[in-house]
Symmetry: C2
Subunit: 121 residues, 2 copies
């Protein structure tokens, strides 16, 4: 077995600069812990089979939902329920931690050019 | 469906003061996101069926393993693999976020007086 190492979130965040492209930094059973930097508006999409957790580390993130916005600052988290259409938006740059099952595609059922290739750090 | 609300971690941490008694603050599929405050030494224990994620929010946490210690400060996380005996220790007070499947008992297979009753906030 590979013994896991501790993960310093800011050290990992310093290793990449592109937006909307999550990096897997740890695994927990069949879940992945990812870091992502975002800025601007993503695409409206839905994950039909899973909830999705956003924990903001730096900056301010708006998770747009069809029935209202959720505004997250550092140290605030939100779980988007499965099947709920959402669209993240960030006026400035945001760093966030995501928790979701292995294999979740960032654009969910929407697809398109912002669909990220799985990457680990 | 209950629409989840955003969770401000520091606001939730202000709601309790006892040690070694995790509070569930959010759910993600069949996983729970918990906050815990700890100080002193816990008990050596193992979770045979699941990995366990610790993300330190405040303070410095030592996760003692049989083959060495992992030292975590704020913004550092560690996943204890299933089946690996461990014993958290904190010289000062530590606040941490845990991610683990529903129903995980804090003392794992060890039991004893530090076994916590499930609580939500």
């Amino acid at each position: 077995m590979d013994t896991p190492r501790k993960i310093n979130l800011q050290e990992k965040l310093a290793l990449f600069a592109d937006h909307w492209s999550p990096r897997t930094v740890a695994r927990l059973n069949d879940y992945e812990i990812k870091l992502v930097k975002v800025q601007g508006e993503f695409v409206w999409h839905t994950h039909e089979d899973t909830d999705e957790l956003f924990l903001v580390l730096d900056g301010r993130l708006t998770i747009q939902l069809r029935d209202g916005d959720v505004e997250l600052g550092p140290g605030e988290l939100y779980v988007v329920p499965r099947g709920v259409e959402h669209c993240p938006r960030a006026d400035g740059e945001v760093a966030a931690l995501l928790v979701e099952p292995e294999g979740v595609v960032n654009t969910g059922s929407a697809g398109g050019e912002l669909t990220a290739v799985p990457q680990s750090l």
